[in-house]
């Protein structure tokens, strides 16, 4: 955190991120909220870059800005037009509580961690060139169990999603799916 440029970048990015994040729940238009959400994700990626975490930054863009936001897009587009409104305040109380709790955890952690060991010279040494190697070795070395557990969790989430959208009682859905399978590009069983 020596260079002036990095400091300026940090403040600008933080401002963008926080303002966009605040606007998300102030805006009534859900579509605008999604666009701002993407801005938040991109700002976060920029913040990661100022911390020399290039892999995390790129992964942030790839996963959050590129994929998660598309998920939100689908969710919004499947919402009936009448209820496409950000004005619902039913969950405002619990949301605030939860948000406050998370903020508290973050603040406590921020003050609890010895940040100094990773700044200055140590940060300089951890240059851009070997982040991926280090991350890869860590993931498939000491933390391989957690890595595998996470992947199994994701697999189950995938299966759960499929089970949720497949209605065994709905013959129409099954027939439609069969029909869709029949009309495939190179498929088309006789």
């Amino acid at each position: 955190m020596d260079s002036l440029g990095v400091v300026i970048a940090f403040y600008v990015l933080s401002a963008i991120t926080i303002v966009s994040a605040a606007s998300i729940f102030l805006l009534r238009n859900l579509v605008h909220a999604i666009v701002l959400l993407v801005v938040v994700f991109l700002g976060m990626a920029g913040l990661f870059l100022t911390l020399s975490a290039d892999f995390i930054a790129v992964a942030q863009i790839l996963i959050y800005a590129g994929a998660i936001s598309v998920l939100f897009v689908f969710a919004v587009m499947l919402t009936p037009l009448a209820s496409r409104d950000n004005g619902n305040s039913l969950y405002a109380g619990p949301g605030l509580l939860l948000g406050g709790a998370i903020a508290a955890i973050v603040v406590v952690t921020a003050f609890d961690v010895e940040w100094n060991q990773l700044t200055g010279v140590a940060l300089e040494q951890r240059s851009f060139t070997d982040t991926i190697e280090v991350i890869g070795n860590q993931l498939l070395g000491p933390h391989v169990l957690a890595f595998e557990v996470a992947s199994v969790l994701l697999l189950f989430a995938l299966l759960g999603a499929i089970v949720l959208v497949t209605d065994p009682n709905n013959e129409d859905g099954a027939a439609a799916e069969e029909e869709a399978g029949k009309d495939t590009a190179v498929g088309g069983s006789e």
Binding site: V35, V58, A59, L62, M77, D183
Partner: protein, 476 residues
């Protein structure tokens, strides 16, 4: 046109067609002095080239700042010089960054100008017509005329459109398209953004354009645009998976996410990854056609169904920006294919003679040519066929491909034989495996041979109605 027709152009149109002259005719008809002057100029150029070639082979150029084969050296030198000025590191940073950015932008901008002309001329050639040939020599100024026309046009904002979101997308779609060019290595030392996560950077930046397209479609307040946008979003999200999986294979083999190192690996081993990984090449190329909305996967702007898809409502230069991005993306995918699978800037030692960036540009243009070729040849898939193809065919096969290549990589790491034998056997095995896997999986997933060879129509032996139809059907 046969002889009789050319003797006897019966109609004004036929006469007009015959009267058109080609480039060769123009050269033949030139006066003798012009021919002599031209030959002298050509000879001089040849001589100069021979001289340059001599210097190159002599090794005098290697690594010097005036080494025109790799402009990266000049930049390096410039940076060192600027650092000595003692104004702080920002000077060298900004100056070299600006020069590099301008270089890339001017290359793309130049290509956008010439590219639309190339595309239209080539398409016309494929379609037995002339193409633009009126503005300037051989119609070369047509793109400029088009751009001027687009700029003069009124930019309409449809009623009920979300004005901000309608304004932003042409810009937002342009930014990732330009940014993604950053990590492409043009020569060993000539890469604008030589980062370690180059491959991930490319994938993530290109995935950003989904949102811009969706914004364009949603904010237009038009059902065609919305339909096109949702088709695009669904398609891009689906096809990002096969793209990533096919690139993971590249990373597995080369052991690096850095595009420069991927190219260097291919140059070192004297092999193109296209030979080693034919399936990945196909997956990447096909999925890219979906990502950038080119035929046969241009369902997002299928003009026979939804007019122009997400940019139906855009007019003037805003529509022009979308079209330009589409064109630039085609070239970019060509460059990516060249980098990942066709040896990038390398050409088996020839890069010592020809500037590597020229080689890369030529390879990228070849990719672009293939896109034009496809566009002029193939019909379009339907959306459900396309999604089925991604999820049922490409993704399972890509995963299997990753597995196979992972095994091969670990063999290569442990087996101590000449690299040429290892990779030669891998190439053979992979080609065979690809063919077998594709055929088997197609059978498993329900491909039937009736789609391969549908029967031609019958000849009716009699005239009649329903009874005759039934009799013919039963008899056959």
């Amino acid at each position: 046109m046969t002889d009789r027709h050319s003797e006897l152009p019966a109609t004004p149109m036929a006469r007009q067609i015959i009267a058109r002259r080609s480039l060769l005719d123009a050269a033949k008809a030139a006066p003798v002095s012009l021919k002599v002057a031209g030959s002298i100029v050509l000879l001089g150029l040849l001589l100069v080239n021979a001289l340059i070639g001599f210097i190159v082979v002599d090794g005098q150029l290697d690594g010097e700042w005036y080494d025109f084969r790799d402009l990266g050296y000049a930049m390096e030198r410039l940076r060192i010089e600027l650092d000595e000025v003692n104004l702080g590191p920002w000077l060298s940073y900004w100056v070299t960054g600006l020069i590099g950015g301008l270089g890339i932008l001017s290359f793309i901008g130049g290509f956008l100008l010439i590219g639309s002309w190339i595309e239209r001329r080539l398409l016309a050639r494929f379609q037995v017509r002339m193409g633009p040939n009126r503005v300037g020599p051989f119609g070369l100024l047509q793109p400029i005329a088009d751009a001027l026309k687009l700029m003069q046009k009124e930019v309409l904002i449809p009623m009920g459109a979300d004005r901000l979101l309608f304004f932003l997308p042409p810009v937002l779609v342009f930014v990732p398209a330009m940014l993604a060019w950053g990590p492409i290595p043009w020569a060993p030392g000539m890469s604008y953004l030589d980062i370690n996560v180059g491959l991930l950077f490319v994938v993530s930046i290109t995935s950003l354009s989904v949102l811009a397209i969706w914004m364009a479609g949603w904010s237009s307040n038009n059902h065609y645009a919305l339909l096109g946008a949702m088709r695009t979003v669904a398609m891009m999200v689906s096809y990002e998976i096969p793209i990533s999986l096919s690139l993971i294979v590249v990373v597995l083999i080369t052991g690096s996410l850095n595009l420069g190192e991927i190219v260097a690996w291919q140059t070192d081993h004297n092999v193109w990854l296209a030979v080693l990984l034919p399936f990945s090449l196909f997956t990447f190329f096909f999925s890219s056609t979906a990502e950038i909305n080119r035929t046969p996967n241009d369902i997002a702007e299928a003009e026979s169904e939804i007019v122009a898809g997400f940019h139906t409502e855009y007019s003037g230069m805003k529509a022009g920006l979308f079209l330009a991005v589409e064109l630039g993306n085609a070239l970019f995918v060509g460059a990516l294919v060249a980098t990942f699978f066709l040896g990038g800037y390398g050409l088996f030692g020839l890069e010592q003679w020809i500037p590597p960036y020229v080689i890369l540009a030529a390879k990228a243009s070849f990719g672009y040519f293939v896109f034009i070729w496809l566009r002029s040849t193939l019909p379009r898939f339907r959306i459900d066929q396309l999604m089925t193809f991604a999820w049922k065919y490409l993704i399972p096969l890509s995963i299997a491909n990753v597995l196979v290549v992972a095994v091969e990589t670990s063999i290569a790491a442990r087996w101590e034989v000449e690299a040429i034998f290892i990779y030669g056997s891998f190439a053979v095995v992979n080609v065979i495996l690809t063919v077998i896997a594709v055929r088997t999986w197609a059978r498993v997933a329900g491909y039937s041979s009736s789609f391969e060879r549908p029967e031609p129509p019958r000849v009716a032996p009699m005239i009649g109605g329903l009874k005759a139809a039934r009799r013919i059907k039963a008899g056959a």
